[in-house]
Each structure stands twice: as structure tokens, then as C-alpha cells.
């Protein structure tokens, strides 16, 4: 992660990269046989966070089966630190919206999302949760979950292959790695089908 533009009048951004004194100090310590590495605290936290994202077991239809395949032996998302699927939204970090969301289910999904603790992420899996998919014309299908809750990653497919799901998960990991944990971006507030404020 790069040092971003820091706005301090008396100090230039390049000066932050000039860590000669710190490097000398480290070399001295290493000469004495002490193992030391320097890193930013944000990187450390994000490394830990991105490799222990706990998904919420939420599935309404077909994509849920492919989600189960990703969890099982062949594809095994435990390799990415996702293995602990949680049955309670209060313990989960990410919700996979796998399957169609209907009008009756929409307020339930919103309630589940609200119950999750910050920082929380949403992955829209499959055509139905992205846009309504094959059921776009129906009178009872919400055309995209992003009308109800903010979505971080979209995984297209009907249903997406397990490999696609793994790719989507890795995209979310990348996103988490670039975040500033102590200053998390504000989630857009979605109500009545319109997005208000927030930058994504």
C-alpha cells in the first residue's frame, strides 16, 4: 500500500518516505541478531481482516447450492480464510446474497443486513440478486439487491461457477486490503430504492 497524499502544510509527502534514521536503527538491531520487520498498522490489520472474512449462511435459491460447493471439499474456501460460516448475522462479516430476492423477502434481507456488525460487506451472487436476472419481468421480484442494501462485489452468472465465486471473494479481499481501518468509508444509505450520499 502506497503512502497517499498527506495534506500537512509544513511537510511534503516525499518526506514521509525518507525513513533513513529508522532504517539505520533496524540494521543495528538486526546486527545483534534481533529479527525485526517494519510495517504499517493498517496493513497488519487489513491482512488479518481480509484473511478471516466470515460469511453468513444466507441462500434463497439455486446460487446457495453453488455456495455450498465452494464451501465443500473440491473448491474449499477455507484456503482463503473464509471457512467459518456463521448462522447469525451478528457474527458475520460478509453476506452472500445468493438467490432471488422477492418483495416478501426484501424487508427480511434488510433486517439481516442491519443486524450485522460493522465493518460489513455484501456480495451479490448471480443474475437475480444483481438485476432480477431471468425473473426481471416478474411482479414479485426485486430487480437488484442494490436497491435495498449497498453491494461491494457483484458476481455474475446463473448460477456463477464456484471458481467465479472464489474470484469474487478475492476481489473483496483486495478491497478490504486497501481500506483504512480507522477511517472506514461511510456506507451509502439506501432507502425507498434510491441511493443517497456516500462515495463508493
Amino acid at each position: 500500500m502506497e503512502v497517499k497524499d498527506i495534506k500537512i502544510k509544513s511537510m511534503k509527502t516525499e518526506d514521509f518516505k525518507d525513513n533513513e534514521y529508522l532504517q539505520q536503527y533496524i540494521e543495528e538491531l538486526q546486527k545483534d541478531g534481533l529479527n525485526i520487520a517494519t510495517e504499517k498498522l493498517d496493513d497488519l490489520i487489513n491482512w488479518g481482516r481480509s484473511n478471516s472474512v466470515w460469511p453468513f449462511t444466507f441462500a434463497t435459491s439455486c446460487c446457495g447450492i453453488e455456495f455450498m460447493c465452494v464451501a465443500a471439499a473440491r473448491h474449499d474456501f477455507a484456503r482463503f480464510g473464509w471457512e467459518v460460516t456463521r448462522n447469525s448475522p451478528r457474527q458475520a462479516d460478509v453476506i452472500f446474497v445468493s438467490g432471488t430476492i422477492t418483495y416478501k423477502m426484501a424487508p427480511v434481507l434488510k433486517r439481516l443486513y442491519d443486524q450485522m456488525a460493522e465493518p460489513k460487506y455484501v456480495i451479490a451472487v448471480g443474475g437475480c440478486s444483481i438485476s432480477g436476472g431471468p425473473f426481471k419481468e416478474s411482479y414479485h421480484v426485486v430487480n437488484g439487491v442494490d436497491k435495498i442494501i449497498p453491494v461491494d462485489v457483484y458476481i455474475p452468472g446463473c448460477p456463477p461457477r464456484p471458481e467465479a465465486m472464489l474470484y469474487g471473494m478475492m476481489q473483496l479481499q483486495r478491497k478490504i486490503k486497501l481500506e483504512n481501518f480507522f477511517k472506514l468509508p461511510k456506507k451509502p444509505n439506501i432507502s425507498n430504492g434510491q441511493t443517497e450520499g456516500g462515495n463508493k
Binding site: 460447493c69 432471488t100 416478501k104 431471468p134
Partner: protein, 545 residues
């Protein structure tokens, strides 16, 4: 069948019979419905297969597909039709006391068409919310998001616990009565709609006394997508795509049902090669589906190893699918007139390798789980369903056969290549959770046996018949049954001769399975509910459609 025609005529002299249909079809007045229904039940027609609401534009009606739980010679089905011209307050007498499953089927017809069933004990909507305005399946219904917006609040339980019922007074007018489903002192536990073990978004309102279940009120519709209504504006090949999304675990079999219904109506002869390939694919899907059923049931009971094992072996079938059809879960392989393309050169070898592998694995499953005294001890002696209850609720498939009801459509009305192979219909007499568990593993073995007989004998030739670019079905009604991994799946098409159907109805086997939860779980412990529902292996999107 002539006898039955005379019998119905004595019960309802005004009955009109249709000539040349697939089944004996009778149109009767609503007043005579109960008399005919009772008479048919006495004659052994105790299995209400399908109940379809209809909008004939000038009138609203109901179609009953009635069959017998013990067909003597071959498939016997009688179709009853009745309708009323009153569109404001359409009233038809209920048959819910004659066939128990009609309690739910009639609620569905009310939900879609607003047909009021007189003297029905529970006239709530089945799928849509109570505050939904209008009846979406009526031909004059207009989709309007301003009238029915995306709701922002979960409804208050009082909304769906107020149970209305209608009766006729002396002047022949409808009188509405409302009672509450539960009393204030009752202890209710909500299971679902979001629960990892309900196999989808099912909502069970469970009345408890201590830890003993007293009553279960299933609440559907969280995944109701209106597939049947969407089909009415689609052409026939387009509809195929949606059938796999009904019950995604038996996608090919559902699609097979619709393909056969269209082929039968259009008079398309399917080549023998396609019939064989379809049968093999159906049986592979049955194995895959039973594996998931087994894996999830064991997972619900706390055995994660079993879940991993089941999913691992299912991946082998997914590989076979992928090579030939390109798809994994949604195979998208069957088309009207045959299959989309010929099988992959590796297909036969792959399947032949799979059969001994699977046999070995089943032995392992038995060693690891079935013979485990803790698992077996939990499954035995709980969740019983008698044969009479299974027939009354229309519980077909492995769950019906575990109760001793011989209801395999592959035997009653063979289709594709099922009449060319030898296999046993597995029957258990106990009707308990352990029987339902065992029957799935036994059916996997039978499926392997069927595949073994067919795989070397796939005939040469075309895999697809020539089909006109635009398929138009002759005007009429068509019904096709197939045995999917959960039971008797039915497709009903009503055509007016156009390129899209007038009405499509899918008979879901899973609705019966969920309704059977109430008689099975009453007086059982709440901890066993998840295991019993796991043994039924239902798929919710198939119910909600």
C-alpha cells in the same frame, strides 16, 4: 373408464364430458362438486394430484386432477372442472375435508385468482403478503409498483395470524368470519425465514409446550417469483429455462417433464438415442440430488464430515455434466425434441468409472453414519407418517415410499426408457425418519443399476428430432407427470393454439412434504424438527415457484 363416466353421470346429471382428451375430463356445476368429489373418493380416487386455478376471462374456475393411490392396471386420472361467472365474489365449495392437501392448494388458488372456497377453514393467502392488492394471475391484473411497492417493513404477526373463513348464509351470500391462529397464552417460536436448516427460505410458526411441538404453521412465499405467470408470456422453448430454477436439485427431471408435455401435445417423436440419454441424465441427477439430501440431513444432525463427503462425490457428477452439456447445476441440456447436442466421447467411460466408485462410497456412508449408534438412535422412533396420511397429503417420492405407498411414476406411467430397464421400487413400511434416510441411499443404488443397463446400449442415430422453429401447440389441455427426486412432478399446459400457453401449472411435490411436517412433528421434541425436515429433503423454491 366408461364405468366412471356413468358413475359421475348418476352423481351429477348435468355433467359434460370432453371427447378425445388425455384423461376422462368432466365439467360440472359448482353445486354438484362436493357430491362428485365424495363419490370419487369412495371409489378409491383418494389422491388429489393437482389443483389448478383458471381464469377463462368470462369466468373463473378450478381444475382438479384426481388419481388413485392404488392404480389397479395403469395410470388412472380423472379431471374435474368447475367454474363460476361471478368475478367479484367467485365462490366454489371447498374439498379440503375430502382431500386434506386441498387445504393448501385452495389457498394457492385464492392467492392467485381470488377464488373463495366456501367453508374452507383457513382462507389466508399462501404466497403473497396479506397486504398485497389484487390477484396477480387474473388476466386483467396490471403490474404496478405504485400499488404494490417493495415493502420496507416485516409484517406484524397479527397480520398473518388472522384466519378468515367464508360460509354461505340463507340468502346465499358470503359471510366472513375471522379467528386467530394462536391464542395469546401460546408459546410460539419462529423458525425461519432465515435459518440454515430450513433448506431455503421457509418460515415455520411453531407452537410449543415446553420442548414438545403442538402445532406447526408453515408460511411460504419468500421466494415466490411468479414463474407460472411469466410462462404465459413466453414461447415454449423459453419456458424450459425456468423449469430448472424451480427445483434446482432436479433441474433435468423438471425440464424433462415440460419437454415431454410439449412433445406430446405437438406430436413430436423423440429419437431413441435422446430417450436413453435423457434417462441416464435423469438418474445421474437423482443421485446428485439424493447425495445433497443425505449430506444436508447429516449436516443438520451435526456431522460435517458427511456433508463434505456427499458434496465431494456430487462433484464427480458435475464433471460428467460439464463435459457434455457445459453446465454444472443448471445443465440446460434438454430441448424440445431431444437433447441439445450429442454426448461427449468421454461420457460413457466417465459414467462407467463413476458407477463402481459410487457403490464403494455408499458402503462407506453406511459404515460411517448409518451404523453409527448415536446417529441411528436419533433417527429411529421419531417423525412417523402413516400411509393414509401420506396419501391424504399427497406425499410422494422417497418420503411417500418410506411410508409404504407405492407411488413411483416411473413404474405407474413409464416414460423415456424406463420401461426398458429393470429396477426395484424401494418400499419401506415404517414411515419413520430412519426409513426416509435409508430409502434415499437405496434409491442411489437402484439409479446406478438403471444407468448400468443403459450406458452400453445407447442406440445410434439422431439425438434431436426436427422441430419447427416456432412451436404452436394445438388447442387443448395437457398434463405430464415425471418422477423427480422428491416425488411426483406434474406439468399442466392449457393451450389456445398460440405460440405461448394460456396457463401453465407446475405440480410441486415439495408442498406436500412441508405440509406433512405438522402431523409428523406434533408431540415430538423441537430438537428433532430439523432432523425430520432434513429427512423430507424439500426444496423451497419448488413450492413457491
Amino acid at each position: 373408464m366408461d364405468n366412471m363416466q356413468k358413475y359421475i353421470q348418476t352423481l351429477a346429471p348435468k355433467a359434460q364430458f370432453e371427447e378425445g382428451g388425455q384423461y376422462l375430463t368432466t365439467t360440472i356445476e359448482p353445486d354438484a362438486l362436493r357430491k362428485v368429489a365424495t363419490g370419487l373418493k369412495e371409489k378409491g380416487f383418494d389422491y388429489l394430484m393437482c389443483l389448478t386455478g383458471m381464469d377463462y376471462k368470462e369466468s373463473l374456475g378450478v381444475i382438479y386432477h384426481i388419481s388413485s393411490s392404488n392404480p389397479k392396471e395403469k395410470e388412472t386420472v380423472i379431471v374435474l372442472k368447475t367454474s363460476t361467472t361471478n368475478r367479484e365474489e367467485p365462490a366454489i365449495p371447498t374439498v379440503s375435508d375430502i382431500w386434506e392437501i386441498a387445504t393448501y392448494y385452495e389457498r394457492e388458488a385464492y392467492d392467485f385468482y381470488g377464488i373463495i372456497f366456501v367453508n374452507h377453514p383457513d382462507m389466508r393467502r399462501l404466497f403473497l403478503r396479506e397486504d398485497w392488492v389484487g390477484f396477480p394471475f387474473r388476466k386483467d391484473y396490471v403490474v404496478n409498483d405504485e400499488i404494490n411497492p417493495v415493502p420496507t417493513k416485516v409484517p406484524d404477526p397479527d397480520d398473518y395470524e388472522a384466519v378468515p373463513s367464508y360460509s354461505l348464509n340463507k340468502e346465499g351470500k358470503l359471510v366472513k368470519k375471522t379467528k386467530s391462529l394462536f391464542e395469546n397464552k401460546d408459546y410460539i417460536v419462529n423458525i425461519g425465514p432465515q435459518h440454515p436448516s430450513t433448506h431455503g427460505v421457509l418460515h415455520l410458526r411453531t407452537k410449543l409446550e415446553g420442548e414438545i411441538i403442538k402445532h406447526i404453521d408453515p408460511h411460504f412465499g419468500y421466494i415466490h417469483r411468479g414463474i407460472e405467470k411469466m410462462c404465459e408470456s413466453m414461447t415454449y422453448p423459453q419456458m424450459l429455462y425456468l423449469t430448472e430454477r424451480l427445483d434446482y436439485l432436479c433441474g433435468t427431471m423438471n425440464r424433462h417433464g415440460l419437454c415431454m408435455c410439449i412433445e406430446k401435445a405437438a406430436g413430436i417423436e423423440v429419437p431413441a438415442r435422446a430417450q436413453y440419454i435423457r434417462t441416464i441424465f435423469d438418474e445421474l441427477t437423482r443421485i446428485a440430488s439424493h447425495l445433497i439430501g443425505w449430506a444436508c440431513m447429516c449436516n443438520d444432525m451435526g456431522s460435517i464430515t458427511a456433508f463434505i463427503y456427499g458434496m465431494r462425490d456430487r462433484e464427480k457428477i458435475m464433471d460428467i455434466y460439464e463435459e457434455t452439456a457445459g453446465g454444472r447445476l443448471m445443465v440446460n441440456y434438454y430441448v424440445v425434441g431431444g437433447v441439445a447436442q450429442d454426448i461427449h466421447p468421454n461420457f460413457v467411460n466417465r459414467v462407467k468409472e463413476f458407477i463402481p466408485y459410487m457403490r464403494k462410497m455408499i458402503e462407506e456412508y453406511h459404515t460411517l453414519f448409518t451404523h453409527n449408534p448415536i446417529a441411528a438412535g436419533r433417527m429411529k422412533d421419531c417423525g412417523f407418517l402413516t400411509k393414509e396420511q401420506a396419501v391424504a397429503l399427497g406425499v410422494t417420492g422417497p418420503s411417500g415410499r418410506a411410508s409404504g405407498w407405492s407411488c413411483d411414476v416411473r413404474k405407474i406411467a413409464p416414460y423415456a426408457a424406463y420401461d426398458k430397464v429393470k429396477f426395484d421400487e424401494m418400499l419401506h413400511q415404517g414411515g419413520g425418519t430412519f426409513d426416509r434416510y435409508m430409502i434415499r441411499l437405496e434409491e442411489i443404488e437402484q439409479s446406478l443399476r438403471i444407468i448400468e443397463q443403459l450406458i452400453d446400449n445407447i442406440p445410434e442415430g439422431d439425438c434431436r428430432a426436427k422441430v419447427p422453429a416456432i412451436i404452436k401447440l394445438p388447442a387443448g389441455e395437457y398434463y405430464q407427470r415425471v418422477e423427480n427426486a422428491r416425488g411426483d412432478f406434474g406439468v399442466y399446459i392449457n393451450s389456445t393454439g398460440d405460440k405461448n400457453p394460456y396457463r401453465v401449472k407446475f405440480r410441486s411435490p415439495c408442498l406436500s412434504l412441508v405440509t406433512a411436517l405438522d402431523p409428523m412433528c406434533t408431540e415430538q421434541k423441537i430438537a428433532d424438527l430439523i432432523m425430520i425436515s432434513g429427512s423430507l429433503d424439500y426444496v423451497i423454491p419448488c413450492i413457491d415457484r
